[in-house]
């Protein structure tokens, strides 16, 4: 009880703009520095371009209060505390599950809406009713990858590399292994920690298992060391990755070891269907005008843009800046025409229904990975 009272008291006393009709500020809590800087900045660009397209809600200018959580849980908590003080209408981001879970606790208590642009760990939205996400969840991404490995690649034995100190990677590896074993396959899971460079021990363990496919649920920082070492130790099996490796650091860092690397990620224009594809294309065109030389225009950018659009739409639907009104407007949002597909929160616990997930493949001709290309193979909706 004391907490709720304190939060209200703080909001009012602090010239809380939650009620008054002052400028609508939206907090942006992203990993702009540290390990996930490239993905964080790509998402920020998506939000800024979306704001260019639609810059006002309830007739006022929408302000973005940007906070860099430096890819650390305590940085994310500090940003959350700052947003509680500023009394923002809602918070967009962070992109990764670890930072998202860290920020979700204080924001839920303070009753502030949070939309994590690309956190896919199921635990994030379970923290409270104010916590939403824009992406699919890991159990779906793990299942789809496992089914692809078992059916399309006819693999019976899979080695799973898991970064054990990250919620996203830990959960995703678990879902893949569970689904793959339910399809009759056999898996072993090898752990490494963040910032590992020497994978000789893990590769030694993998050697005795002669797997048909390798599943990597980690990030590009470690992937750029692991893949070359795998190739050097004679592992030429097909490597499957997840949306964390949808980042220019992978092909550039890993070089030709990433040639033929298949990964699941957020569907872009070429996997969406019908008018969603059209919307994605003219958003991409508009994006090129604002950021012509952006290295990373990928699913994260689209997810950032849609998070902003959905937040502004909810404020407009609610017709006032009162947090509870905006909350239930968001909770029964139906079929919003987003740039990454239609978004529906009605009847969900914060995870949008029917998101499309795409399969991409890297091709890295040169040894130093300077001219890499990413082609998309096909897309699967959460419904199927």
């Amino acid at each position: 009880m004391a907490k709720k009272l304190f939060a209200l008291l703080a909001a009012v006393l602090l010239g809380g703009t939650a009620f008054a009709q002052g400028p609508v500020t939206i907090g942006v809590n992203l990993e702009l520095s540290g390990r996930f800087a490239t993905i964080g900045n790509a998402t920020l660009q998506g939000i800024e371009v979306a704001r260019e397209q639609m810059s006002d809600a309830l007739g006022q200018e929408v302000e973005l209060s940007i906070c860099d959580n430096q890819t650390t849980p305590e940085g994310s908590i500090n940003c959350a505390a700052r947003f509680v003080d500023e009394g923002v209408i809602g918070v967009l981001g962070p992109i990764s599950s670890t930072m998202a879970i860290a920020a979700a606790n204080p924001l839920e208590e303070a009753g502030v809406i949070m939309i994590s642009t690309s956190s896919t760990n199921p635990a994030t939205t379970q923290i409270g009713e104010h916590i939403f996400r824009m992406a699919y969840t890991d159990d779906f991404q793990g299942k789809v990858a496992a089914r692809y490995a078992a059916d399309d690649l006819e693999a019976e034995r899979a080695v799973v590399f898991r970064q054990q100190d990250d919620d996203y990677s830990f959960g995703l590896a678990g879902f893949f292994a569970e689904e793959f074993e339910s399809l009759g396959g056999e898996t072993i899971t090898l752990d490494f920690v963040s910032n590992t460079v020497d994978f000789s021990a893990q590769i030694n363990d993998a050697r005795g298992f002669d797997a048909d496919v390798i599943y990597y649920s980690g990030f590009c920082a470690e992937g750029a060391s692991l893949m070359p070492q795998l190739r050097q130790q004679g592992f030429n099996q097909q490597i499957l990755g997840a949306d964390a490796s949808d980042d220019s650091q992978c092909p550039v860092g890993g070089g030709e070891a990433f040639d033929g690397y298949i990964l699941t990620g957020f569907g872009g224009a070429d996997v969406l269907s019908g008018d969603a594809a059209a919307r994605a294309e003219d958003f991409a065109a508009f994006f090129d005008v604002v950021y012509p030389d952006a290295a990373d225009f990928n699913g994260f950018t689209l997810a950032g843009a849609d998070s902003y659009n959905v937040m502004v739409q909810a404020v407009n639907n609610a017709g006032s800046a009162d947090p509870d009104a905006v909350l239930d407007a968001l909770q029964n949002l139906e079929g919003y025409p987003g740039v990454s597909g239609d978004i529906t929160y009605a009847g969900t616990d914060g995870t949008p229904a029917d998101r499309t997930i795409a399969f991409f493949q890297y091709s890295v001709p040169g040894a130093d990975g300077s001219e890499w290309t990413k082609s998309s193979l096909f897309g699967i909706g959460t419904g199927q």
Partner: protein, 504 residues
């Protein structure tokens, strides 16, 4: 003033100050922002950890670098025992989490139910369960403190520091291995630890007060004196009967206990227990606090913690992205200040040549960069912004290097705040009556005239060579015995040079 009356006065004064602090906290919690509230809570939590580290580093003189390991243990045990039931189901349902049903059932709530204290398992009595979890965390850390204390019996100095560092790192690295992950949920740790204790100023400051009470009572007790004896000269301390083994292990155990408590509060503050919350930078921050504040005094340590917490919490302007001209201006002016400082230093010390080439070169570089920043604003080299990520830690590192170079004993060195000091009751300054008597004692001849009330002059027979069985000359205690023979009546002897006061 009799001893018991001064003690009463001191207790009353301390309680008075405690009350004032409580009122201030009430004011702050009311309308201070979440940030100020967090900063105060952080100050208290890191204060507990720094005070407990100072018991080993400052009072006993052993450099211990494994403090973050004890905090980790305390933090994880507390969070394992206090994490609410829904989080436990989520962990259990999580794919392939290593936590076994048994380890997940380890919670104070289940323990209370088992023992029949159903009344204490309600949400309102969460604080009782949190207190129990905190104490259990402290005791488990204390046991690890005993284990780490054992090598301290055989090793000394920098080798011992490295061994404690080794222990700290082993604890952190093995917490995520399959051996311990059933208890620590691997590297993922626990989310959703109730944070209305770590974030509440009342809880943290109350425990800080308790820690300060225990630490000062230890330091000014016979045990504290034995520890300081070990710091001054270990061989002499052992030769005077101090049991080194027992004292050192005691210091390590108590320090580890409070480190565990601080770990528990730190986990509650961050509302999650993860391995990368307990990296070595924690011990480094406490080291900075102790070295800056003063290794020998708890008042100094608290001042040091205040400095570190201020830089950590309000240092983020340092890490914002600024335009390059701003950066160039700042660096230029810093170099200029360094050059001016060098020039002033050489001038006051009258070193030749005053304008040392290094000072001149620095001045030129500084001026050049400053002018370039001011006038070259729109030149291509200066567009674009820059963010100095990690500038707060650089500031703390530089601060520690400077302090270690110029004032290794810290700001307060050994001066401890006490009411006697505050009320100017300096016991070790001689009153002029005592000074006269002391002067007379050392040089009776010279001071014959000036010693007005010399009822206790030096014995006459002291230096008489021809007195084989000299009369027992010195009186017992300060009160002169009436029937003892009066000494110093008219015997002539050479004045001796007993130069009393040679300062350090």
């Amino acid at each position: 003033m009799s001893d018991s009356r001064t003690r009463l006065r001191n207790v009353m004064l301390t309680l008075g100050v405690g009350a004032i602090v409580a009122v201030l906290l009430a004011l702050v919690e009311g309308n201070g922002g979440a940030k100020l509230n967090d900063t105060l809570a952080l100050f208290a939590i890191w204060g507990i950890a720094a005070l407990s580290l100072n018991l080993v580093n400052g009072t006993t003189g052993i450099l211990s670098l494994g403090h973050h390991g004890f905090m980790l243990i305390g933090g994880y045990v507390t969070s394992l025992l206090i994490v609410p039931a829904d989080v436990r189901e989520r962990i259990a349902s999580q794919a392939r989490s290593d936590m076994t049903p048994f380890t997940l059932s380890l919670s104070v709530e289940n323990a209370f139910n088992a023992v029949g204290l159903q009344a204490l398992t309600t949400p309102e009595t969460l604080w009782v369960r949190f207190l129990v979890a905190l104490l259990v965390g402290g005791f488990v850390a204390m046991i690890f403190g005993l284990i780490v204390g054992i090598p301290s019996l055989r090793l000394k100095g920098d080798y011992l520091a490295i061994v404690t560092f080794g222990f700290g790192e082993i604890i952190r690295l093995s917490a995520s291995t399959s051996l311990f992950s059933p208890f620590t949920n691997g590297a993922l740790g626990f989310a959703g630890v109730p944070n209305d204790f770590g974030k509440s100023i009342w809880w943290t400051f109350a425990i800080l007060g308790l820690t300060l009470f225990v630490m000062t009572k230890i330091k000014f007790s016979s045990f504290g004196r034995a520890l300081q004896g070990i710091r001054e000269d270990e061989i002499a301390a052992e030769a005077m009967g101090v049991n080194l083994a027992r004292s050192k292990v005691l210091a390590f155990a108590i320090s580890a206990f409070f480190a565990g408590i601080a770990g528990g509060l730190w986990v509650s503050y961050l509302s999650a227990a993860r391995l990368d919350f307990f990296l070595f930078f924690l011990t480094f921050f406490f080291l900075v606090a102790i070295s800056v504040g003063g290794t020998g005094s708890y008042t100094g340590v608290l001042m040091g913690v205040a400095v570190v917490v201020f830089v950590q919490q309000y240092g983020d302007p340092l890490e914002k992205t600024y335009g390059l001209p701003v950066w160039f201006g700042v660096i230029g002016s810093l170099i200029l200040i360094a050059a001016a400082g060098g020039w002033l230093y050489r001038k006051t010390r009258r070193m030749r040549p005053v304008l040392h080439p290094l000072v001149v070169v620095l001045g030129l570089i500084g001026l050049g960069t400053l002018l370039f920043a001011i006038f070259g604003q729109n030149s291509p080299a200066l567009d674009g912004t820059f963010q100095a990520f990690g500038m707060r830690r650089i500031l703390l590192a530089v601060l520690l290097i400077v302090i270690m170079a110029f004032r290794p004993e810290g700001i307060m060195s050994r001066a401890e705040f006490s009411w006697a000091w505050a009320l100017r009751e300096r016991k070790d300054q001689p009153s002029d009556e005592e000074r006269a008597q002391d002067a007379w004692l050392s040089n009776p001849d010279l001071n014959r005239g000036s010693a007005t009330s010399s009822e206790d002059p030096l014995p006459a027979s002291l230096t008489a060579e021809d007195a084989p069985n000299a009369v027992p000359f010195l009186e017992r205690g300060t009160k002169p015995d009436p029937d003892e023979p009066r000494y110093g009546e008219g015997r002539d002897w050479q004045p001796e040079q007993d130069d009393e006061e040679e300062g350090r």
